[in-house]
Symmetry: C2
Subunit: 221 residues, 2 copies
DNA sequence: CATATCCTCCAAAGTTCTGTGGAATATCGT
DNA sequence: ACGATATTCCACAGAACTTTGGAGGATATG
């Protein structure tokens, strides 16, 4: 009664999701998509992949049901299939951080020296409502436009050095970026500190903020 | 400044966990281990794998940090590295169920016709405290011995037909087994119904019960 | 010390995955 | 209809993974 092969088949189907998560490049694409929809060429550039390579990885993710695609004119936008995918990605990252010995050093090597102060989401809310700090979004403009923390000011990291005068000098700055694996806010805090500003960093980033159920704003300012 | 290769390296490290989840056989082993520690030969038999095959898959899981091994005399026991792994496995299953089109049919083909009534954890607690139902653990004895729902009676599925007289005929029975992907409780409820007993099934199973933070009992009775 | 048990290591063969170019396809603006 | 742009399809070589059988290591027992 083929009951065994039915079981094998079921687990093999479940493994399709696992297989999709089994490539660094695909995880990188997933991490980017967790910020909002993107086109293929855009993703390929951001992940430093050949166009055809990126396309095939994206199709692999799509076959596994993790992302969806929509055509807009000549371009095709890929997007996360849902927040459950983002949660899965976060859970995987947490497990890796805790269980894989080489992840912690790799993270530190990527994010740079641990010399920046960080505060959690509750503390950010406290300081903002108290009016003692302003929130700075240092992600690229399109991602800010897609969604951001309410009240945050957008100055992408690569424009920050030239736009320092837009930030009041007497206020503390809380910088954030994509998520725990994003360097932008680390670099931003270092840059601001070099210019004599008081700056701290939000632990993790926008993705975790959104998944925690905090309010977000999609208005452009 | 090699910053790019550092990033690639980091994501490649994270992908090690994904790779480990990318095989049906390994997921099957993981699902078994979520019930409690097991020896290699035991696991190989339960998953219908060659001994060397099982061993190599287990080592792959271990390299990814998902499981640990301990020697007991001549045998080696593998165990889940922590509850975070079980949570990850559950999250993956949920995503697959929701996003991969072929998973639902495969699940139904495996679990059998959807003709058994199910109740959730809160309802089980309600009926048990009210004394209107008894809880029946139909998993194999060793798994019951490792941990079970407090107050549950153990009658493994393959002994159930011969031990029906141990169950009071005037009480409703709530059967449970390993988890959402376990057939035992489905089969048990059908068997009990055929013998004129009132029987329902706990949605999902022991793994989900434990991860939800409900009390468990490790005492043998 | 010999033997049995349980498991891991190793090598071989088959299968699947990855990255890369070039060709083909779909859509837009003119 | 035509050229330009964006993306997918195809084919191929190299790398990685899976499975299997046999040899070998560690541990307990007589």
């Amino acid at each position: 009664m083929g009951g065994e092969s039915v079981k094998t088949e079921l687990f093999e189907q479940l493994a399709r999701v696992g297989k999709a998560l089994g490539s660094g490049k695909r995880l990188e694409l997933l991490d980017l998509l967790a910020q909002g929809p993107r086109s293929v060429a855009d993703l390929a550039a951001a992940a430093r992949l050949g166009l055809t390579t990126a396309s095939s990885h994206l199709q692999a993710l799509k076959r596994a049901g993790l992302i969806t695609s929509t055509r807009h004119g000549t371009t095709i936008e890929y997007a996360l299939a849902g927040d459950d995918i983002a949660t899965l990605w976060l859970q995987l990252r947490e497990v890796a951080e805790r269980r894989v010995a080489d992840v912690r050093p790799a993270t530190e090597a990527y994010l740079g020296p641990d010399d920046t102060e960080e505060i959690d989401r509750a503390e950010l809310l406290r300081r903002v409502t108290a009016g003692t700090a302003i929130v700075l979004d240092v992600r690229p403009q399109p991602e800010y436009a897609a969604a951001h923390i309410p009240g945050a000011v957008s100055i992408p990291l690569d424009e920050l050095a030239g736009r320092l005068d837009e930030i009041p000098a007497d206020q503390e700055i809380v910088a954030y970026c994509r998520g725990a694996l994003c360097v932008f806010s680390h670099d931003a805090v270092r840059l601001l500190a070099e210019h004599g500003r008081r700056a701290v960093r939000l632990t993790d980033g926008f993705l975790e903020w959104r998944l925690a159920g905090h309010p977000i704003d999609t208005a452009v300012r």
